[in-house]
């Protein structure tokens, strides 16, 4: 060994600290991912498929005019919720006793359940218009009323499946199906809904749709 050569003893790296740093990195990634999908780009957040509000990343356009399902239930965000109801309702626990009211809600979040006659709504909204008169703030709303029409603007529906009659238009009218008590199924729908009497309309984008024997998937396009 030459005289000027120095023997060095290398200590082992602190593996525990390395693991801790990696774990903190993973934690921050998860935290920022949740933050991004809830605050920065919430519309991408809800839809895990190919459909994104405003633009299409492979989603299929859908426009249906069918007879309504026996009952319909969602728990979702609705950008604009418009309805005309009969009877009393509650906002922030306060009863509003009106014969007939036109209600519009912005940024509604909660449950909506309706059948042919009644609508049950329970959730929160940031702004509500009652016969055009606005009330702002984080408002808890509760309705259990008869209604004459409902409009849901920009909401997410995980799936809908029932035997229906009517017209289903898919992929910018490239596929038009006339159903007669045949199976109608959509998965991961994002868009608008209108229910007025025996009219039930959906207009938006969908990840997968089946109408009778026709099945269209966004992945297949």
């Amino acid at each position: 060994m030459p005289e000027d050569e120095v023997e060095a003893v290398l200590s082992k790296p602190k593996r525990k600290h390395r693991w801790m740093i990696m774990l903190i990195g993973v934690f921050l990634f998860v935290f920022l991912f949740v933050f991004y999908t809830s605050f920065v780009n919430p519309n991408q957040g809800q839809i895990t498929g190919n459909v994104v509000k405003g633009d299409v990343l492979g989603g299929v356009s859908i426009n249906v005019n069918l007879d309504p399902p026996e009952s319909f239930k969602i728990d979702s965000n609705v950008d604009k919720f418009d309805m005309k109801i009969k009877g009393a309702f509650f906002i922030e626990g306060k009863k509003y006793d009106l014969d007939s009211s036109s209600i519009v809600m912005d940024n509604f979040n909660g449950k909506i359940n309706f059948n042919d006659e009644k609508v049950i709504v329970e959730g929160k909204t940031s702004k509500i218009f009652i016969e055009g008169i606005p009330i702002s703030g984080k408002l808890k709303v509760k309705f259990d009323n008869e209604y004459s029409y409902l409009k849901l603007g920009n909401f997410y529906l995980k799936s809908l499946d029932y035997d229906a009659s009517g017209i289903v238009r898919l992929d910018d009218d490239k596929v038009v199906v006339n159903l007669n008590e045949e199976r109608f199924n959509v998965k991961k729908f994002y868009g608008d809904l209108e229910k007025r009497g025996s009219i039930f309309r959906l207009n938006g984008l969908v990840d997968e749709a089946s109408a009778g024997l026709i099945n269209v998937k966004s992945d297949d396009r």
């Binding site: 934690f27 991912f33 949740v34 999908t37 957040g45 979040n109 997410y156």
Partner: protein
């Protein structure tokens, strides 16, 4: 009355594992994420399905890994010795007879003092094995001392 298991002519008095307080930083990450999700839900925002599943997966992995890490070490007090087992499939078992123990030392960092857990080192006229992350180490050392005194006096009887 405690049940005493016999193993040869040794009676197992107590079995210990490292305290879960050791994993508080990891658990706090799960709590922070859970509170964040509750906040998002409370403010009426959307929770991404994927983000929710990622949080759930992260929480499950953290809990699973910490539990697996914890079962990698166990300490047994018998009527005549302390046994320190380390490992999962292959086990390294260190046994220290009470007669051989000359001193016991408690080692606690600031974090361990705050949460009242710490390492207990056994001495055999020189540094011996360390029982890591024992919950309430002072109480444990007192208990251990009593057992050692009884064992050395030959007074330890079956309960």
């Amino acid at each position: 009355m405690k049940k005493v298991k016999k193993k040869g002519n040794r009676k197992r008095i107590r079995k210990l594992r490292p305290s879960r307080k050791l994993y508080m930083p990891y658990y706090s990450m799960i709590v922070i994420l859970a509170l964040f999700l509750i906040y998002i839900k409370y403010t009426g925002r959307i929770i991404n399905d994927t983000a929710f599943n990622v949080v759930l997966f992260f929480a499950i992995v953290i809990i699973a890994v910490t539990e697996i890490h914890r079962i990698g070490e166990s300490y047994h007090l018998t009527s005549s010795s302390v046994i320190l087992d380390t490992g999962y499939f292959g086990i390294l078992s260190k046994r220290m007879e009470f007669e051989a123990i000359s001193d016991i030392q408690i080692l606690q960092g600031p974090w361990q003092r705050l949460l009242n857990f710490g390492d207990v080192q056994l001495f055999k006229f020189g540094p011996g094995p360390i029982m890591k992350n024992i919950n309430r180490p002072n109480a444990f050392v007192n208990e251990l001392e009593q057992i050692i005194i009884k064992a050395k006096a030959g007074e330890h009887e079956e309960e």
